[in-house]
Amino acid sequence: MGAVSAEGFPMPMRQSATSARWVLSAPLLVFLAVFAVFPLALGTWISLTDRSILSFSINFVGLKNYADTLRDPDFWHAVFFTLKFTLISTFATLVLGFLLALLVHRRFPGKTLLVTALIMPIMVAPALMGIMFRLVLNAEIGLVPAILDRFGIAIHLFSPHLVVPLLILLEILQWTPFTFLILYAGLQALPDDVFEAAALDGSSPLRTTFMITIPLMVPSFFVAGFLRAVDALRTFDVIFVLTGGGPGSLTNTLSIYIYKKAFTEGNFGLATAAAMLVLLMVVPLIPFLIRRVTTRVGDVP
């Protein structure tokens, strides 16, 4: 997991290598210029205008879109809903993923097959997961209400007071396999001798877990947690397919809020301003994660 550093340098760089590095990375640099830097600038510009989805007259309006967004209670509702959704689901997927990793980290029959089955939800498009949730939760024909019915439980899963916990639960269900995968990989990478020493010293399994495993796993928790958090912050697919942000605007995530501003109301200026505000919320988190995710390139002047 740790940063892999390129030991030493290649031979002293010659003329050919110097030109080669520009030639070899030209496609990347051109692509970034056209599809990252330019859109960033264009998005910033649009957020300062009254551009609509199909507008021919575009007027500069300054920071009006930002002021309007910050004054919109629906925006703040989306902010708080998204934060709540992110914090609870990230924490729960970390805990459950870790418990699952501890459980799986031993020899047992059928392990290979079961691990494959465990991580299957990661491969399913979240939007299609949303459709399938709609199917299995459907009050008339769904598997889950039918099972609950057998136990005499009749609830309306999509009623206003249940829909938020339900969405959080579904997020946990889909993404615990992901945190499991990262944490399990981290667990397998831990040195065996520490655990052998602990066992020789008569440390109980619980004590070993809390005093040795968890501290050693901090980097894995960090990566899994941040990746989950960043993805949960921009959740769109599952909730859009399941509730469309409703009832009302109760389950609007920030992404759904922006989407509706742009494509339901057709107001690109407002939508990009809101998107820029979200971008500014996420940016401070990035350095923490990047340092742990990317490869060390080596000592670069």
């Binding site: 997991m1 692509f31 799986v104 299609l128 299995v136 008339e140 390139v297």
Partner: protein, 275 residues
């Protein structure tokens, strides 16, 4: 003694239970897709024996469904994105890690792109693609999906390049090999597992993308992921047909991922970013 003997089976059962729970949606869709319409409404818990293939036939052949088109679009877009992403990221990863282009800063900047909200970029993309006439085309989708996947591909490939022993490269340089020669004849073959991991994850994320596809495509370039989720709204809810469509759309990524599980796990676990 008996305890140690019984433990493994208990673990198997416990893990199997969790695997069952997280896959309830898939199981539900699979069961529903084989049930006749009557049984879907009257017996939610029944096992469809004997099953019907009517829903699959509807999805694939019935008039009004564009499923074959969606499928073709998804395949072309996913394949095109894998090719474009690989062609851009393999040489760039080598240039950054071994030829020290831009150093840590450039790699970090590319990786950071993945963390930015896609919803921010999709609005300018919509405007840009509209202006150049690439809205609702597979080409437009290939380009935006490449944007989506470049960061993760770069992270995986940069790690792969850093793992290639530098001595091999030094020896080749002594013999007068150029950077291009070294990349093609030495780095690429050694990098094959990383390229496979990056390609597999790129394929998966592209196939599963929803945000870009729902905004950039309207009909001609519509993908299965969006197309199938819209069965629900456009045609009333024919759950049998919807389920068959869902099963057909998830089967490709699942099969790919099972056969490439080794690469998938190494790719995702190398601190990468999911979509």
């Amino acid at each position: 003694m008996t305890r140690t003997k019984q433990w493994p089976i208990m673990v198997t059962l416990a893990v199997a239970l969790v695997a069952l729970v997280v896959n309830i949606p898939l199981i539900g869709a699979l069961l529903t897709s084989f049930k006749p319409d009557g049984a879907i409404t009257s017996h939610p818990l029944s096992i469809p024996v004997p099953g019907t293939l009517q829903h699959y036939a509807n999805v694939l052949y019935a008039a009004g469904y564009d499923f074959p088109l969606f499928f073709e679009n998804s395949a072309i877009i996913a394949f095109g994105t894998v090719v474009l992403t690989t062609l851009i990221s393999v040489p760039a990863a080598y240039a950054i890690v071994r030829l020290k282009l831009g150093g840590q800063w450039l790699l970090n900047a590319v990786a950071a792109m993945r963390l930015l909200p896609a919803m921010f970029f999709v609005l300018p993309f919509f405007v840009m693609l509209t202006n150049v006439g690439l809205l609702d085309t597979v080409w437009g989708m290939i380009v935006v999906d490449t944007f989506l996947n470049l960061p993760i591909a770069m992270v995986i490939l940069a790690r792969g390049v850093a793992d290639v022993p530098i001595e091999i490269e030094e020896a080749a340089r002594m013999d007068g090999a150029s950077s291009y020669g070294i990349l093609v004849t030495m780095i690429v073959p050694l990098l094959a597992p990383s390229i496979a991991a990056a390609a597999l994850i790129t394929f998966l994320f592209t196939w599963n993308d929803y945000i870009f596809a729902i905004i950039i495509t309207t009909s001609a370039a519509r993908t299965v992921t969006v197309g199938v989720s819209q069965f629900v709204t456009s045609y009333g809810i024919l759950w049998g047909d919807v389920s068959a469509g869902v099963v057909l759309s998830v089967i490709i990524p699942i099969v790919f991922a099972i056969f490439g599980q080794r690469y998938l796990v190494s790719g995702l676990a190398s601190g990468s970013v999911k979509g």
